[in-house]
Amino acid sequence: MDRAADREGVPAWARRFVAVYLAAFLVCGLLGFEAWPLTGWRLFADARQARQPGWQAVTVDGAGRETPVPFRVLPAGFQGDVQVLKGFPDLSPGERAAVCQAWADAVERRSGGRVAAVRVYRTETDVSHRVGERGAPPVRTLYWTCPQGGAGAPG
């Protein structure tokens, strides 16, 4: 047994290691601090309301038809749509154009069709308002339009 080990077989470094590790784990948990992989464990921590604000991204084809971007069937790298859209107002026009371009390219690769523009809507959904087994359609307000090859504009 090495010299640093105490008489019961636990090395001194192990005691320090456990103390530091558990302290970091407990501090992150108690304070809700994120230092991934240490985390504040905020899983569904907020109370949801019936009226839920959200976002929707749609592509527009040459004939002006809108189709919601099918994020769920796009590759995994595109499935952070909820968070990307939530942060959309904080992006610069150039960053918004890059995001729209990424979505348009993915949709074109998948469908083979051409995307003329990407529109981003703010939505408000009242999930307590049910129509059969589905919620009533959200109320939408156009927030931003990204024309393909252009910088984009509000509304």
Partner: protein, 329 residues
């Protein structure tokens, strides 16, 4: 001050109590196996192809402007899976387990770099940390089978495992640290709900609205989500049960028999989330199972039932064999 010191000393005494080397080995096998499956089936190649404009890095990935390149990700994935499989098998676990963890962390960080922390692999990663420097392969490994310590562990009969090493504090602290992490994860999940939403998490329509929104976001209405969301009393009951299980989970550290209540409840909770919301928390549920079940005690019971007597080759006289009783203390 003196009281705090006494409390700390008692806590230290609990964490550093003797433990069964097989229980530690079971953690190595189970957690490494979950990690291997998770890494082999994860969407890392797809994530590597993500356009840089969509990259929302977490933690140390903030050092990068985009996801790591596909070639590097493929190499890391192969390395991590191979190391995790070897660690599960107990082959050079002192090297392969840390290697698997180190290669897994950036890969799993990629899945949380879409804008939101994905918690489903976090518990697994955190539970592996105490195992990294621990003697995890001194039981249930090829080395333990080949080389029982001379004089301490009698050579096993052909086809039998050697008697396990005696219970020791060397094997106890990693297991107990992991138990604290699992209990803490659930407790802090419940605490975050109380701190951010208060009792409204149970008393308001919170769970109903969450389930309706989840069902509406799925391609087809989800019958399990609607079953609960359409019945306010059931939604309140499940919300209250969730909070009770999460906040009460640390009781298993004090009374291990309560694991019979909390572990099935936690697994059922994750299964329910998958059924209603299609959120995949199987790595978290299986981590809980691997950590909370006393596998050596189970193995002993099965072996006794199968052989009609003790399954191990014997234990040194005067020393208690590595028993689950010691580990449950």
């Amino acid at each position: 001050m003196r009281r705090a010191e006494t409390l700390l000393a008692r806590l230290e005494g609990c964490v550093f109590a003797p433990g069964d080397p097989r229980r530690l080995a079971a953690l190595r096998i189970g957690l490494s196996a979950i990690l291997a499956v998770r890494l082999a089936t994860g969407p890392y190649a797809e994530l590597a192809g993500q356009p840089a404009a969509l990259f929302r890095p977490i933690s140390f990935l903030r050092l990068l402007d985009a996801m790591p390149p596909p070639g590097l990700v493929a190499v890391m994935q192969v390395l991590a899976v191979a190391a995790a499989v070897l660690a599960a098998a107990g082959a050079a676990a002192r090297v392969t387990l840390p290697l698997a963890w180190a290669a897994a962390v950036p890969l799993i960080a990629m899945t949380s770099s879409l804008g939101k922390t994905a918690h489903n692999d976090v518990l697994l990663l955190l539970c592996l940390v105490p195992l990294l420097p621990a003697p995890t392969a001194e039981a249930w490994s090829p080395a333990a089978r080949r080389r029982p310590a001379p004089g301490r562990w009698p050579a096993p009969a052909p086809g039998r495992w050697p008697a396990p090493a005696p219970a020791s504090r060397r094997y106890g602290w990693p297991v107990r640290t992991v138990l604290v992490v699992v209990a803490g994860a659930y407790f802090f999940s419940g605490l975050a709900k109380l701190l951010h939403a208060g009792l409204a998490w149970v008393a308001s329509g919170n769970l109903r609205w969450a389930l309706y929104a989840s069902s509406d976001a799925q391609p087809h209405p989800n019958p399990a989500a609607l079953l609960v969301a359409d019945r306010p009393w059931l939604a309140h009951l499940l919300a209250a049960a969730t909070l009770l299980v999460e906040l009460g989970f640390p009781l298993v550290l004090w009374r291990p028999r309560l694991a019979w209540l909390f572990v099935p409840a936690a697994v059922a909770f994750h299964a329910g989330i998958w059924m209603a919301m299609r959120l995949d928390y199987w790595p978290m549920a299986s981590t809980v199972l691997v950590v909370m079940v006393d596998w050596p005690a189970l193995a002993d019971r099965l072996a006794r039932r199968g052989a009609g007597g003790p399954a191990v080759a014997g234990a040194p006289s005067g020393e208690r064999p590595a028993s689950s009783a010691a580990d449950r203390r």
